[in-house]
Assembly symmetry: C2
Amino acid sequence: MKIDPSSPADLSAQIATAIRDAIIGGRLIVDQRLPSEAELAEQFEVSRPTVREALKRLAAQSLIRTQRGPTGGAFVNRLSFPDAYAQQITTSTLLLSMNAVSFETACEARFALERACAPLSAERRTADHLATMRAEIHRQAQAGLTDEAFCASDVAFHRALVDGAGNPVLSYQLAGAVEAMQPLMNMITFTARDRARIIALHQEIANAAEAQDGKAVTAGLTALEAETQDLAQSVFAALAARNAGKAG
Amino acid sequence: MKIDPSSPADLSAQIATAIRDAIIGGRLIVDQRLPSEAELAEQFEVSRPTVREALKRLAAQSLIRTQRGPTGGAFVNRLSFPDAYAQQITTSTLLLSMNAVSFETACEARFALERACAPLSAERRTADHLATMRAEIHRQAQAGLTDEAFCASDVAFHRALVDGAGNPVLSYQLAGAVEAMQPLMNMITFTARDRARIIALHQEIANAAEAQDGKAVTAGLTALEAETQDLAQSVFAALAARNAGKAG
DNA sequence: TGTAGATTTAATGTCAGACAATTAAACTCC
DNA sequence: GGAGTTTAATTGTCTGACATTAAATCTACA
């Protein structure tokens, strides 16, 4: 592993890339210990702080973990599903919030992906998944629930549905799509009537999942998407009108 | 923004988290300049190297960019779609390679997600998308193509199909699923007969997309999934037998 | 007056050396 | 042989310095 000191890129970035490539390429395997910071500094012919900056870059991506003490050092980290979830959610959330992605586009993507899980979830969902869905529906019907709590429960409901497919890769991919929508959903104020309609559709979906009727689950999700898009459209229209009023 | 010096966590990690939260929470907006490293060091009551390690962590996630010179500093970075793609692909690839995810599970997830794009893509694909798909099919039929090149073309074909949905969020989510499969696919040796079957299905899918027949696209993808699973099963069975032979 | 070039300056990038904190292993003593 | 102590290796942090970059300012000259 070598770096180019005359390159315009930061040395620490080059070192991080070199090590990252070694991990992705399988030349460094899970739980393998990297050389100590002092040794890396010597190998790359840079100072220890520069090596440390490189290692921190890798740690930020959960590619390595560090441990102190005589048997310590930097170790190649097994990227766990929870870690991957967290990164996925952060990235997706920022992508949406920073790129003026319309609610419509994000909503379409989210429900399209969720429908992809519907047949599998209908077939494989366990009693646990069903119980979680029912419990969340019950929570959503409670009086005095804030909009934020309602949205959080909505996410939990959909997560149970997706997890029902029993495919961790699918759950991971969906985590980003579903959770990243939450800040957008939180902009919406739900009337009691809105909530009732959403809860009814949730009931429909849960019933379909219980009956292992994939097509009905898909249909429920499609109806929920239409409902959500309608709701958002009216909310954002009202917002725009209010802003126009302020400006005029 | 404050940190806790008595916490067991690294100071640089705490500082990175504090700044990241400020970005996600909207208290720091895109292109806003952070205080200089010296000022941050003073604010957080740590040394400059510690601040730098924190900033490198954020840079590794494309959350900030740095610039030298008098008007330089660290700026909140707009997370671009290409940056998000790259992160998504790295994370997904590592997740699969490090967690003994079966080919079957990954393949199922990938095709389930891709089917989610099928109706939208059939409806909206442009002539450009169709042309790309046809071009890749043509390439796949060329003699002397290596397995890796065949797989790469396969990815390009599916990417065109997904992009045809005209939803950047969907394309972003799919990037991880499709690209992360590539290392697994590269383990497979394709016979001429295998390639012919896959190309025929690609033709079928392209024709369906041209006819804007979403159901036919979905059916084609389902058939392709079955074909891929069969192929992988026989390849991995042969591999296992060979290894057993070595061991015996 | 305007412009090209030199200078200044503020910021990041890098380095060297030191000390603190942590923790596993080796050692000592009972 | 076991409990407590010491040792040593490693990461975490700090200080201070210099190198590099690039925008802004200043200067000289046409």
